[in-house]
């Protein structure tokens, strides 16, 4: 039994200390053919925290994540990553910058095994060239084995040893979600975006998942931004919460504060808003 990836190395992408602003979203607006999905939203994510993004259905939460990892490009506003304003970037560039994510509807590679899915997440860290890969020998083999070991550490961490070689299509939903988290972790991200990591899970699975999320945050110092509907989970897990409603930000702060906010209560109760 060996220690999982050294915490120092995981957190050390940018050499940023805990508490510094890792990502800042400034006045971002996004629309699709005239339909506003996000309107003038600003908030930040601080290194080492668990940040929750909540809000009723259609509040623009997933769009927000999509903006953060470069899948959508906002028409207005800027995004600063590690203190630098980011140019328009492709999702894979965001990935190589240390942003990983999971999806609301599990987006695993259905034709592959659990192991291969997670290995795919190591792709960015693997450097051996095409010719070595053809031979699957020498440096390429060594590299493959090194990364397999890292992946095994993640498998061990998330306790999915028993399904290592199972094609993910055959797994129950809860386990699929866990594999997806594993795949994201394999990227050793600095910022981990989780889009409803507990959707459709039973109580036990939710508890497990909460524990894993906290462990990831504590063990590796990974900053986490998550969207979640289960308020109990949000209150337990997160350090700060930002609340969206109809594409606008209506609250931002520690969980208990946000929970007490009248705007938030109204939004969840469906009280018509005055904007």
């Amino acid at each position: 039994m060996s220690a999982f990836v050294e915490p120092a190395r995981m957190a050390g992408h940018s050499g940023m200390a805990k508490g510094e602003v890792l990502l800042r979203v400034d006045n971002v607006s996004l629309s699709f053919g005239g339909v506003k999905a996000i309107t003038n939203i600003s908030f930040d994510i601080v290194k080492g925290e668990v940040r929750a993004i909540i809000g009723p259905n259609g509040a623009g939460k997933t769009s927000m994540l999509n903006v953060i990892n470069g899948f959508y490009h906002p028409q207005e506003g800027t995004i600063a990553w590690r203190g630098k304003v980011r140019r328009k970037m492709k999702p894979y560039e965001a990935a190589s910058n240390g942003i990983a994510r999971t999806f609301q509807n599990v987006a695993l590679f259905k034709g592959m095994t659990t192991l291969d899915n997670i290995m795919t997440g190591r792709g960015l860290k693997m450097k051996k060239n095409f010719l070595w890969q053809c031979l699957h020998w020498g440096p390429a083999l060594t590299e493959e084995n090194e990364h397999r070991r890292k992946v095994e550490e993640i498998i061990d961490f998330l306790e999915i040893q028993a399904i290592r070689k199972t094609p993910v299509g055959r797994l129950p939903y809860g386990l699929q979600k866990r594999v997806e988290l594993a795949r994201a972790l394999a990227m050793e991200p600095e910022l981990l975006l989780l889009d409803e990591p507990m959707a459709g899970m039973n109580l036990e699975e939710k508890e497990d998942m909460s524990r894993f999320i906290l462990d990831v945050n504590q063990q590796f110092g990974t900053t986490i931004a998550l969207i979640e509907h289960d308020m109990g989970v949000v209150m337990d897990l997160s350090d700060r919460v930002v609340v969206l409603d109809y594409g606008r930000k209506i609250a931002d702060g520690p969980p208990d504060e946000v929970q007490a906010s009248q705007d938030v209560i109204d939004a969840y109760l469906g009280v018509p808003h005055e904007h």
């Binding site: 034709g111 795919t120 997440g121 031979l135």
Partner: protein
């Protein structure tokens, strides 16, 4: 049933990730390889090489190449015929321009040239997907065939417009031309196929292969974990075209000897190879060979059966053959859409689980 996996424990990732992790599989494969390399060459004659073995090996190689693109990377291509033509014409030009060049180099270079052409036609794959892409690859098919027909430089301005393979040797044995010995041709193709099948397997179980499959299974998610779509798709086009180019090169230089582009590398070849891949099994190396074997052997069998067995007229037999091929393909897709490879896998699973049903 014959599997005895108990006690085969892995102490390294290398052995765990081996191509054949189960000892019994390894034995069978080694026996098969030994048979193909050490026994068959002593018994081959012209009929067997020309009618069965060479087409099987060469189409096997082409199917393998196409499977990389379609089965592993999920990009449909109908341009196989055109790409094979590139390989064929490339090797013709190389053989005639550099008579001293080793045939292995010729074949590899032909593959390389095809890979370059293939990547070029793969460029649209970044923007278009699915059937749109399939149709786009048809452009390659028609365009390439037209080019080889139109420009005399490609066929050295020969009167017939055909290209004919000159006599070339490999390690002192005559490989091409009418008087080449069957076993030389057979071993040459077999070696290439074996080596490149291994390389293909290595690729698909490595990083590149996983990226291909990631793009195939869920391209958006793949991109979000850092897979670069264009690079990945282009690499699939390139590798796939490399294999197909080599197959085209072999088909022309070793197998047929003389080629007229429209006849040999027409759209029908594109379909034939695609069928091999589908019937063999998408995303399976062994499936590519099974598919090739099935579609090479089936017509021979049908023809022998109908013409020699039932005394049918050859033209009628041809019609019936087309009909039967069509029916078989439909039947196959209905019964096992995942191809022979899946049947193979199920059989293997059954044997492994024996005596249990699942």
């Amino acid at each position: 049933m014959l599997y005895r996996e108990a006690g085969q424990y892995k102490t390294s990732y290398q052995s765990d990730q081996a191509i054949f992790p189960i000892a019994q599989d390894r034995w069978v494969v080694w026996a098969f390889v030994a048979f193909a390399f050490l026994v068959v060459p002593f018994f081959v004659n012209d009929y067997w090489t020309n009618a069965v073995l060479l087409p099987l090996l060469i189409y096997g190689l082409a199917a393998l190449g196409l499977n990389i693109l379609v089965g592993y990377c999920g990009q449909i291509s109908l341009g196989t015929g055109g790409f094979m033509a590139v390989g064929a014409y490339a090797s013709y030009k190389l053989m005639t321009s550099f008579p001293e060049m080793n045939m292995i180099i010729v074949v590899l270079l032909s593959g390389g040239i095809t890979a370059a052409v293939g990547s070029l036609f793969g460029l649209p794959s970044l923007r278009i997907k699915g059937f749109y892409l399939a149709v786009a690859t048809l452009a390659a098919q028609f365009f390439l065939v037209w080019v080889f027909n139109k420009f005399g430089w490609f066929y050295n301005y020969s009167m017939t417009g055909q290209i004919t393979a000159p006599d070339r040797e490999v390690f002192g044995f005559l490989l091409t031309g009418p008087s080449a010995l069957p076993w030389v041709k057979y071993l040459f193709c077999l070696t290439l196929l074996a080596v490149f099948a291994l390389i293909a397997k290595n690729l698909v179980r490595g990083r590149l292969g996983r990226n291909w499959m990631a793009i195939r299974d869920m391209d958006i998610a793949a991109e979000l974990i850092g897979v670069r779509p264009l690079l990945t798709k282009l690499s699939a086009f390139a590798v796939s075209s490399f294999y197909i180019g080599m197959a085209g090169s072999l088909l022309f230089s070793v197998y047929l000897g003389a080629v007229e582009v429209g006849e040999v590398f027409g759209i029908n070849v594109s379909f034939l190879v695609l069928f091999m891949v589908i019937i063999g099994g998408l995303g399976s190396i062994v499936g590519s060979f099974l598919g090739a074997a099935f579609l090479v052997l089936l017509p021979i069998f049908l023809k022998n059966f109908m013409v020699d067995g039932l005394g049918m007229l050859p033209t009628m037999a041809k019609h019936v053959e087309i009909l039967l091929m069509g029916l078989l393909i439909i039947f196959f897709l209905i019964v096992e859409p995942h191809g022979l490879a899946r049947l193979w896998q199920i059989t293997k699973e059954k044997l492994r689980m024996w005596p249990f049903p699942y």
